[in-house]
Symmetry: C2
Subunit: 193 residues, 2 copies
C-alpha cells in the first residue's frame, strides 16, 4: 500500500449538497446548488459558501445581503442537480422544477418549501480567493419540518436524509448507517494509561 500523488485539486470528502436561495432585483426567487462551504463559527453561528462572481446568486447576495441555505433531502436530488446546471438569468428554476418558493421569516430571501430544512442567513463578510468568493452568512435562524425532529426538537439526520456529494466521481450519495457517538467513542483511547 502506497500513497499516490494526484496533484493539486479540490477533492475532499464528504462534501454537502446545498441549495442557496435568494431574491433577484425583480424580487423573483432564485436558487443555485453549492457543494463548497461549511459551518465556520459558533458565536455568532456562521456558515460559509463559496460562489463565483459571475453567478446570478452572487449578484443577488451582494445586492440583498441575505440568503437561505436550503438542505434538500435525497428524494430531491434531481431538482438540486438541475439547480446547479442552469442559470436563474435564463429561467425560473424553482417553477420549472415544480417546487415552491416561500418568503423566509427573518431574512429577505426565499426558501424551498419541499426541502426539510433551511438556514436563514445575513451576509457578514466575504473574501476573494481567486475564482470564488467565500461568503460568510450569520445564521439568524434554523427552520426544520416538524416530521424530521425528535421529541427534543433536535433534527434527525436519518429523517432529513441530506445528500453527500462526491467530487471525484461526481455522484450523489445517501447518508448510511451510524458508526458511533462523537465525543464518546474516543474516550476508550483517551482513558488508556
Amino acid at each position: 500500500m502506497a500513497f499516490k500523488s494526484l496533484g493539486p485539486s479540490t477533492a475532499a470528502f464528504p462534501t454537502p449538497t446545498w441549495v442557496i436561495a435568494t431574491y433577484d432585483k425583480n424580487e423573483r426567487a432564485n436558487v443555485m446548488t453549492a457543494a463548497w462551504g461549511g459551518i465556520v463559527n459558533s458565536n455568532p453561528p456562521s456558515i460559509a459558501v463559496a460562489i463565483q462572481p459571475p453567478r446570478y446568486t452572487y449578484e443577488n447576495i451582494l445586492a440583498k445581503r441575505e440568503f437561505t441555505v436550503c438542505i434538500p433531502s435525497e428524494e430531491y436530488a434531481k431538482e438540486a442537480d438541475y439547480f446547479g446546471i442552469t442559470s436563474g438569468r435564463d429561467e425560473d428554476k424553482i417553477a420549472k422544477a415544480g417546487l415552491t418558493a416561500v418568503r423566509a421569516e427573518k431574512v429577505n430571501a426565499p426558501y424551498i418549501k419541499e426541502f426539510p430544512m433551511h438556514l436563514e442567513c445575513k451576509l457578514t463578510d466575504r473574501m476573494n480567493l481567486g475564482t470564488h468568493f467565500v461568503l460568510i452568512g450569520q445564521i439568524i435562524d434554523v427552520k426544520a419540518e416538524e416530521d424530521i425532529l425528535d421529541n427534543k426538537d433536535s433534527i434527525e439526520i436519518q429523517k432529513l436524509k441530506p445528500i453527500v456529494y462526491s467530487p471525484t466521481d461526481r455522484n450523489y450519495y445517501k447518508v448510511g448507517d451510524e458508526i458511533g457517538k462523537a465525543f464518546s467513542i474516543g474516550k476508550e483511547i483517551k482513558d488508556k494509561d
Copy 2:
C-alpha cells in the same frame, strides 16, 4: 407538515470529519479533528477550516503556515474522535492512538499514514469570525492510497469510506448508497419544455 424555528445554531448537514495535522514548535506531530470547513476555491484549489485560537493546532498553523487535512476512513472513527477530545499540549495523541505520523512530501507538516487520503496545504489567508478563525489553505497536492483509486486514478468514495458527522445528535455516520449522477440527473428537468 410545518416548519419549526429552532433558533440560531450551527446545524448543517452533512458535515465532514477531518483531521488537521501540524508540527509544533518542537517538531512534534499533532492532530485535531474538525467538522467545520469545506472546499472554497478552484484556482488555486483551496480548503477552509475553522479553528478556535486557543487550540494548539491554531498556534502550530500560524507558526508553520503549513498543515495537512487527513481524511479518516470509517474504521478510524474512534481515533478521529479521540483527536477531538484531547489537546496535543497534554499528550502525544498520534502515538497514544497507535497511529503513525509521516512527514508530508510538499509541506512542513505530518500526515497520518493509516488514513487513506490527505491534502497538503499552505496557509494563504485567515478571517476572524468571533470565536473561530477561518483558515484558508491552498491545496498543494492530494495524496491517496493506491487501493482507493479506480483505474483512472480517481478516488472512489465507497473505498475511501469517509465519515459524515451529524451536529445535532453528535454521531458519526457512513456514506451510503449512490443516489445519482451529478450534472446529469437534473437534465431531465432542464430539457423539459
